[in-house]
Symmetry: C2
Subunit: 113 residues, 2 copies
Amino acid sequence: MANKGDLLPGTLDLLILQTLKRAPLHGYGIAQSIKRVSDDVLTVEEGSLYPALQRLLLQGWVKAEWKITETNRRARYYTLTAAGRKQLGLEISKFEQMMAAIGRVLADAEEAG
Amino acid sequence: MANKGDLLPGTLDLLILQTLKRAPLHGYGIAQSIKRVSDDVLTVEEGSLYPALQRLLLQGWVKAEWKITETNRRARYYTLTAAGRKQLGLEISKFEQMMAAIGRVLADAEEAG
DNA sequence: TTTCTATCCATAGACAAACTATGGTTCGGC
DNA sequence: GCCGAACCATAGTTTGTCTATGGATAGAAA
């Protein structure tokens, strides 16, 4: 019950920014990409994705522009800004630090106080 | 801004259960242990800890009893139940699966659709 | 003996993030 | 003409964590 959802809370912005680092993408494509690259483990619901993109826009970490997709549709393409690239670096290092710390707790078998 | 807090959301139950797997402990001791073992990276606030312990009690994953500490104080000791041990296993494997998936996204440099 | 710090418990309210549910448009296949 | 997939987006709920409180007691320091 600690997490019933489709992804680890607190990692969505990280995943989006990282995905956009590869190439600009529209929302739907971002969700597809994360799902595909993670082998269907991580599913980003639209109700999570679009609010997240709004946050990222407000922070100035991504910018958006309307374009036409290869399949001839209107779509909003999001691009990582310089600030977003910097932020991504910060989030990755913070994330890795946390992972290392959690790893220490999980690895900790026995120890005297 | 993805996470301003002291730990990764969704990992608290996991950390508590794992800590109790080593030995029964009171709330204060759980927080100290996590902080110490994680080299001060993970700090569990009391306002997060006690609600979490209530959740775990309700789920039947831990049980509690009042005892006297080594320092001669009243304290509620929490013990992992059999169900809790099972749950811990589940949460660890789910967590590791997520970590692997996030790792794939972060490692993904370039790829054609 | 008063005071302070550390040890311990616990809850209420605020806040942010993610989910459910919903509603809409357009393209292409049937 | 219909339907599914590709796209956008928001409102409202839920859940988890944090902030802010509040209280009690042991032991050290003053």
